[in-house]
């Protein structure tokens, strides 16, 4: 029996166990021994899932981060927010579907939600360019975030993009410039900003909405300076080396935390977020509410000063004692 939910190659042992369970479930279960066998098989699947997912390497993590069933921006909005009022348009060129913005309510907080959306159906994916935003997307995000700061709403950014769109129109409309400006503006907005990488954190397209007081990454998301394929293409001269590149780039949540590039890692349910949207959303919501409570306590100028210091410290280099 084909099971689409275990489609990644390293999930093969899980797929086998799942098939065994299906088999047992359809079999006659009258005897106590049959029931025991089923129970044992279910436990074996759970243990094996836990085992496989606790030893994911870098490239496997990238594959999980890109899993088609992984919850997306709109899923989290549905599961976390009591209300979402989408706000469209950059008042300049258009309305980018790859980057969505709007008012939302999360528990006692009214917030501005900003997030990349990859799209679920083929039609939607095409409209969203598979989560690759154009300059109008970043302009829209910047505009709505400024309004949020003006009206004292905290901002939540959900990052999930392979990268900003590389195209003629995107270059003509200033892709580099809007990303730069968006980072600059986010660094000084006088309102709490929480950024969470929920899937792919691809390069400048991710960082364009990634300058916040807290930057968190879901356990099996990745965040990288360049896509593994892009890096392989340049340094190994072939996309076939994406796996090597992923390893070299140290793009998994634990590495990112160790390098001091992010603040928090949010654990995913056993077997990854795609296996349990509700559980994942509940954990994310808990993190957001807790962090919002902390950040809204701080006066805006202190918030901005702390945000500056946080990014200011990132980087590793050697400093020789200055020679006079």
């Amino acid at each position: 029996m084909a099971n689409t939910s275990y489609q990644l190659d390293f999930e093969a042992p899980l797929r086998d166990l799942q098939e065994r369970i299906y088999q047992l479930e359809t079999d006659d279960q009258d005897s106590a021994s049959a029931r025991d066998e089923l129970r044992a098989a279910r436990k074996a699947l759970l243990d094996k899932t836990r085992d496989v997912y606790s030893h994911l390497d870098e490239w496997q993590t990238v594959r999980v981060a890109r899993h088609p069933d992984r919850p997306m921006f709109t899923d989290y909005v549905d599961l976390i927010c009591d209300e979402f009022v989408e706000l469209h348009g950059d008042k300049f060129f258009g309305d980018d579907r790859a980057l969505r913005t709007g008012f939302a309510k999360i528990d006692e907080f009214k917030v501005m939600m900003v997030g990349h959306h990859k799209g679920k159906t083929l039609k939607e994916r095409n409209e969203c360019y598979f989560g690759c935003a154009h300059p109008e997307g970043y302009r829209k995000a910047m505009l709505k975030m400024k309004k949020a700061a003006k009206y004292g709403l905290p901002i939540i950014c959900m990052i999930d993009t392979p990268g900003a769109y590389p195209g003629i129109g995107a270059e003509e409309r200033g892709q580099a410039q809007v990303i730069a400006e968006s980072m600059l503006e986010m660094s000084r907005l006088e309102t709490p900003i929480i950024c969470v990488v929920i899937g792919e954190g691809g390069s400048g397209g991710a960082l364009g909405i990634g300058v916040g007081d807290r930057v968190a990454v879901l356990e099996f998301s990745y965040y990288s300076v360049i896509s593994p394929e892009g890096c392989a293409g340049i340094l190994w001269k072939s996309h076939d080396y994406a796996e090597n590149a992923a390893k070299a780039l140290k793009l998994t949540s634990r590495h990112l935390e160790r390098l001091g590039a992010i603040d928090d890692v949010i654990e995913e349910p056993t077997g990854g977020a795609h296996r349990d949207h509700y559980q994942m959303a509940a954990r994310l919501k808990m993190y957001l509410v807790k962090t919002l409570r902390e950040l809204t306590e701080l006066p805006p100028d202190e918030l901005v000063a702390q945000r500056y210091e946080k990014f200011r410290k990132i980087g590793m280099y050697l400093e020789e004692a200055a020679s006079v």
């Binding site: 730069a180 390098l259 990132i314």
Partner: protein, 295 residues
């Protein structure tokens, strides 16, 4: 340190690793029989020109006026009044936080690039005078690992901007980077974009004047951070400037790119550059701008 002490015996940058230039049709591939020491072939018009004549002409092709590669030390020499450059933070050296390894270890790559270019990393920063006006100045050299920004470049620029803010100095940053954010330092390189942009936000709030000068090439994470954030943005003629590399775009959209796409003139026409300024006029133009802005 005076600029004169910086090594200048450098050749053209090694573009073999260049994601942007490496794939461009090499129309004028060097042919055998041309002594590489004495002669030079212009990348743009293809004329063979006397290397010494080019050097005396600020590395601008004497035939077609194409602006060729110029080292960071030479840029500082041409931009600042003689002997006024004082380097800041020259003691910063790249580390290898990821223990990055592709075909070659990053640690080894750094050492060989340092030997080849005489630089410690891709940026020089400091202070000096432009026609007797004191400025804070930063230059990235596109020869050092594609002029890419890692932790050292980010830190040196952030310190430069902070000092310019404290001392109320006009800020000039000359960008030359085909590599954008440096892959070999991973996420830390990406975050330098946010760090430098945040420093520029403070400089802006303090009323500073930031003149960003774009040279060939200025791409990726460098274009998408400080290079695009100038109060005024100048570019040398025909420089390649953009976010995504032409090869990436071509692979994505599967169409031929328009003539002159992502060149300075294209960006000027689309409204992202204030002025295209020839290398020979850059110093005067910057001095004049500083005067207009009352700095």
């Amino acid at each position: 340190m005076a600029t004169g002490e910086l090594k200048e015996n450098r050749d053209q940058p090694d573009n073999s690793d260049d994601p942007l230039l490496g794939d461009e049709p090499k129309k004028h591939r060097a042919k055998r029989g041309v002594p590489s020491g004495l002669w030079l072939r212009c990348d743009d018009c293809g004329e063979t020109v006397f290397r010494k004549t080019v050097a005396e002409n600020m590395s601008v092709c004497p035939v077609c006026g194409y602006h060729m590669y110029l080292s960071a030390a030479d840029r500082i020499r041409y931009l600042l009044d003689e002997g006024t450059f004082e380097e800041w933070d020259g003691n910063l050296m790249p580390a290898d936080p990821l223990e990055f390894f592709d075909k070659k270890a990053y640690a080894e790559r750094v050492v060989s690039e340092q030997k080849r270019t005489g630089l410690r990393d891709a940026a020089l920063t400091g202070t000096g005078m432009i026609r007797a006006r004191r400025v804070a100045v930063g230059v990235t050299d596109s020869a050092f690992i594609m002029g890419s920004m890692g932790s050292v470049v980010g830190e040196r620029l952030a310190r430069l901007i902070e000092r310019a803010t404290e001392q109320d100095l006009p800020l000039v940053i000359v960008s030359g980077s085909g590599g954008g954010a440096r892959m070999h330092e991973g996420i830390l390189s990406l975050m330098q974009m946010a760090k430098v942009s945040a420093a520029l936000a403070r400089y802006d709030e303090a009323g500073g004047l930031f003149i960003s000068v774009l040279t060939n090439p200025t791409m990726g994470g460098v274009a998408a951070s400080f290079a695009s954030l100038g109060d005024l943005v100048f570019a040398e003629p025909k420089a390649l400037i953009g976010f995504a590399g032409p090869r990436t775009i071509k692979a994505t959209i599967r169409l031929e790119l328009p003539e002159g796409f992502q060149r300075s003139e294209f960006l000027l026409a689309h409204g992202y550059i204030d002025r295209i300024v020839k290398r020979a006029d850059m110093k005067s133009e910057i001095a004049r701008t500083i005067d207009y802005c009352g700095k």
